[in-house]
């Protein structure tokens, strides 16, 4: 059944009902070793999932496609939900293990959320990759490219080096070849083999969680200054759940530095902010909400939210942004682009 035009939610998290759903897709020795998708030493001290999102049968939040549809999509008139599974494979030192987990999550997502329980086509998927092994990641992308419901490639912002660096190019080459955006989502930052985007390691979850935006700033500046978008002119990138309001100030700073220092990066042919406009999109949750709405509306204007920003709810997480209440009152045309049009164009959705 086709759904009428509504909202596109660019960050919805599907979870397995239990670890066995993922183990089912793992071969030995990984099946035996796999103990679930922990997030390591920075765990939310309060409940990370919305308690009211647990399924009627008592399953974890986000684990039932039919209930997620009733509890979230139908309530807000969401036409498409871009699913971002949380495989947390990017903190593991063993690239084969990480690649196996990514592959298991992709097969699980296809079987449970995309090829089944998806008659209305509302669920669109992300191909999880283990970026520790860029060549294996490129193969995994190739495996799923052409699937009607996988619309992007995703990875955690947690990594050892920033994504502008050269070892990642096989991933971008595959993304470009198959027209799949590269999505970066918080997770595994500062954990396992990954570097922290802070000075040393954070002490508390609130510090880690607040400074995840440092990861996104680091990846973005790295990709812009290394010339990734000159090398892969068809590459699209989306920054998911990394914050919103830091973007314009960072681009002011980077554009100014580019004017003074372009001698160092001669492969760039235009301002970093122009590459951003042409290649990068940002999702809205967690949207900052200053006491004064005018401050936010101004920063949305400064970042060209009309063309850059795409709505996301982060359902079913504790810091969920409601389509109704997350934003202050927006002009109709701006609302339409943020809640629908930008994502429709970016993901080529009908």
């Amino acid at each position: 059944m086709a759904r009428k035009q509504g909202i596109i939610d660019c960050d919805v998290h599907p979870y397995p009902t239990s670890i066995d759903e993922i183990k089912h897709y793992l071969e030995q020795p990984w099946k035996e070793r796999y103990s679930g998708a922990g997030r390591g030493m920075y765990n939310n001290p309060v409940n990370n999932g919305r308690m009211d999102a647990r399924t009627p049968s008592g399953g974890p939040s986000g684990s039932d496609p039919a209930y997620l549809r009733r509890h979230h999509l139908d309530v807000y008139g969401i036409q498409y939900a871009i699913l971002m599974p949380r495989a947390f494979c990017n903190w593991l030192p063993d690239p084969d293990f990480a690649t196996a987990i990514a592959a298991a999550y992709n097969q699980w997502l296809a079987d449970k959320w995309l090829d089944n329980n998806n008659e209305d086509g509302v669920y669109k998927g992300s191909i999880t990759i283990a970026h520790q092994d860029p060549l294996a990641a490129a193969k995994e992308i190739e495996k799923w490219a052409g699937h009607p419901h996988f619309v992007q490639v995703m990875t955690d912002s947690g990594s050892r080096v920033a994504f502008g660096q050269r070892q990642y190019y096989p991933i971008f080459e595959a993304c470009q070849k198959y027209g799949l955006p590269f999505a970066i989502h918080p997770g595994t930052d500062s954990v396992g083999i990954n570097d922290a985007p802070t000075v040393g390691y954070p002490t508390h979850f609130i510090e880690w969680f607040t400074l995840l935006s440092n990861s996104f700033a680091s990846h973005l500046v790295s990709m812009l200054t290394e010339g990734v978008f000159e090398r892969f002119p068809g590459l699209q990138v989306v920054l998911v759940e990394g914050g919103v309001s830091w973007l314009a100030p960072l681009m002011w700073r980077l554009d100014a530095n580019y004017k003074a220092l372009r001698y160092e990066v001669p492969w760039l042919k235009k301002l970093p902010s122009e590459y951003l406009r042409d290649h990068v999109r940002v999702t809205s949750q967690p949207l900052e909400r200053p006491n004064n709405d005018a401050h936010l509306l101004n920063i949305l204007d400064a970042m060209d939210a009309e063309h850059i920003l795409m709505f996301a709810s982060d359902y079913p997480h504790f810091d969920f942004d409601s389509p109704k209440y997350a934003f202050p009152k927006l002009p109709d045309a701006l609302y339409q682009r943020i809640f629908y049009q930008n994502a429709k164009e970016f993901y080529h959705l009908e």
Copy 2:
């Protein structure tokens, strides 16, 4: 000679004429080992100092108190210049060597810039510390406390862990005891023993230089969430040359996270942004300049620049901000606070 009320410039860099000026104050074995204040692997590919600031006798930019007065202070009517020497001692693994360099710089600054060549009292100094050895740093602070022209303690943003962490408390205790603000200035980030505030290490100077603001975000969030200002209620902090416009978005994010996660940091008794208002100041250079002045004026309003922001030029560096041209046209009252009153109150200047 007293100078009439003018501008207070919160970031002016005095340099030795040659390495020998510093060696003069070093004992063996440091005198022999010292080879100058390099900045390591992230060197500016263009000239870091203003060529026109070289002294009439051909000395390095910023190395002649009389010429700096003529070439910078007199031109703009600057009443006080807060001097920030660049000892670059914070990347060294040996804390004794680092402490010796800090001490040498302090004695040099006193002899060349504060106790001499300073009849009008225009030069105010910063006590350089080697934060690798917090107890030795506290002693160095104590040594200079009470000097009429040292007005703050300074250190590089480059460090191994963020400044909210407990090993630094002896430094803050000394700052509080002697009423000296703690100033953080970029430098030695990602170099030597120090961590990078990025995901892995940056590739180019432009990337490193742009993302120095990550260091400041990291130190600030660390100090705010660890409760440093509850433990040291008299402590004042100033963020120098770390950027300006990122502050309000970060505080929106941190305040929101505090509301959701305060369970984890029960020692905090008010919003992080309220601690900021009561304890932290920010200097203006390098001020971001978006194409649309209204975007900047809005973000200055959002960060309460009227009470938080203090003008700085960064003379004699390549990205110098002119008192005349750095800002768009400001309302008189706001101009007066940013260019004079905030710093006068913060440093208790007459």
